[in-house]
Amino acid sequence: MTAPALTATPVSPAPLPSAPVTPAAPIVRGANLSKAFGATPALRDLSVEVRAGEIRALVGRNGAGKSTLVSLLTGMLEPDSGAIQFSGEPAPAPRARELWQSKVACVYQHPKIIPTLSCAENLFLSQTMRTRKLLSWRKMRREARALLERWGLQVDVDTPAGALGVAERQLLEIARAMIQGSRLLILDEPTAKLNAKEIERLFVKMAALRSMGVGILFISHHLDEIFDIADSVTVLRDGRKVLDGLIHGLDRAELIDAMVGPTSTPTLRSTAATTTHTMTTAHMTSARMTTAATSDRSHSAVRLDIRHLSCQGLFEDVSFKVKARECVGLAGLTGSGKEAIGEVLAGLKDFDSGTICLDEVELPGGDVAKHNRAGIGFVPEDRHREGLVLDLSVAENATMTIAGRLGRFGFIHPQTLASVSTRLIDRLGIKISTPDQPVSTLSGGNQQKVVLARALARDPRALVLINPTSGVDVASKAALFASIREVASQGAAVLIISDELEELELCDRVLVIRSHRLTREFLPPFAARDLIAEMEAKMQRGVAA
């Protein structure tokens, strides 16, 4: 660890050199960028720029070319044609990683930290690798401590980075990225795994960086966030730029139109029934059926009856009922215990006291197979970790919960597998070329549909979902919502555990869990602000940088 390597690269970039010459060259300008993978064009003649002190949102459905653009701007890929300039100077040579790192800092969707190394080492890893001197642990710890303090990260610098929570890990990554002294920060879906309070804290940091003259390219699927924090927006569709402009004066409809494309006549979600052009006729019908079903829901039977359920350290004395055809939302911050309730219902976790009854039959707790057979379908929080076996085919993943029904004595009959899985795939409108395709080759939205298919394979009487549409594009979101509503309309009790307002607004009612207890029930229409206020009540708000 050399002294210059650390001290010459301040955490917060100094103010812009001299008064900005008007017009200052943008921090980054990509001009007429094109990139194809084989015969498939990923980006076509795309130009984009980010100026000092600008937060530019980069929006587009999955596969629109966002990731390719990020790879080009970070020097991980070379454009087929077009040029990239940083502050008016041509981009470094492709292999000069060090130079790229001094120009652009990127925090990827999947953490690029070394979980086994300490926070301090993670922060200064690049520097350590560059210096010929021996590592001074004491100095590294000291500088790391100062750095984390400045970023408002209250963790011990010796903690292994893998032990950090998502939000802290992200701040660590941002802090690390900014050490290199770059003036451009790319954040690839940074909010996907954060709760409302953590997002607020992130936005405070982003605003602080903006005021220091850093340009930020911010990728998000959440339109609300874009309107909250971004100054300008670039919308990509099929590798092309379809919209580029200031957020001010733009409305959601325009933005969604741009993302979804001209062939569609998207109806903005203003009521509970979400419809976009991608929805099939079946989906449309179901949406209408839902509305019809609403009237007799009051007479329908209680399917899921939870009484005084407690689980040490996770939630206390939780009681609620979900009727047939009803869609109940469960909202709360991460750590409130809401995910644990879902996991207990699915049988992943055992509970300490209380009862769970499904159609008046008590469930044992702590036994996934029994809960599943009793009629609980479950969509876990993290599809990559708990939802899917990525290397197995779509068909196998979709039928995983009912493998026993696909043949005798545990043998799986190929034709039964094919017919059952095809039915599920069609039902959810999963876009694939063949059911034998590995799930890993699908887009995030389609992967999530496979997870839902798996949950629906046994025709569950109660469906429990945790963040069912996190990290998927707008069109897939709509399709997933519609499928979920359809399941409810066919008589299932649905519980959506979520921190996404878009999902909660669709529910017939929303329960809020705060500090491990249910606190309040909201009936639509409710103001999102009130819901968030209830979730965050008495919690400390995000601290300014």
Partner: protein
Amino acid sequence: MSERTMPATAGQLWKGLRLRLSAFALVPAIALLIAIGASTNEAFLLPANWLTILQQSSILALLVLAESLVLISGKFDLSLESTVGLAPMLGGWLVSATAIGGSGLSLNPYLAIVVTLLLGLAVGAFNGLLIVRLKLNAFIVTLSMLILLRGITLGITSGKTLYDLPPEFTYLGSAVWLKVPASIWICALFFGLAWFLMRYHRYGRALYAIGGNAEAARAAGIRVERVSFAVFVVASLLASLAGLLLSGRLGAVTAQQGSNLIFTTFAAAVIGGISLNGGKGSLAGALAGVLLLGIVTNILTLSQIASFWIDATFGAIILIAQIFARLAGGERSQL
């Protein structure tokens, strides 16, 4: 899962502390064993006995060092034990007369030492080529190499033992410097050097980074392939040195030299806290693992328990160590 977004808490501090303590986790176990050894046999605490323990452990220590480097970088090398046999066998074969199963080439013994080490280098480079460049599975590649190299060792000499090796060739393994066997000095030197480099040099930290998350390491500017390749070369080189020391001590090379040593090597590394998942563990811990096994062997030998029981004891110790580690250390790493 549910605890992942907890703010900086006592829990995290404890986790961090525990990580640092893990290097010393074996100290109480070793102290206990020393107490048991001292109370069961008067000879146990004699300096001569300790030199025996250390000398017998020195070969294993070099192998554990080699394996730990590979494991920390997130890979595997099973072939080390066969390199322990083949490298000195080749050297010995080149210097020995045909009458005792050698080649009759009577190569200069110093040159034979160089050949021995070069063979280690070549084996490591070949492993590295297959695993790092061709991206073959490390387990299968090094398992094949283990079988292949052992087969070559047997083939060269038709299974015979080479003895009457020239004194130059056996010097390092048999010499005594300052009343302490040279192999102990050599082993201590390498361990000390490696410990220092692993902790303070960028290449050492790069090994930890690669084993922890190779993608992130690459993003930090580490030349992942180059470093991984080098680790295999260094490991096999250390294994050939271990082989040279072993045949020096025995004054002979048997066709089975090093056979089954890989199990003990893994055992010592794992007991010492080197993670099989890569990225974790310290060489100090690995050395403690070696010492622990060395002391156990010594106690069993001194108490004249049939040597046939030593393997069973090792197996039991490894299991017990793992169970303790889980009970004391909590969950597995989360990523």
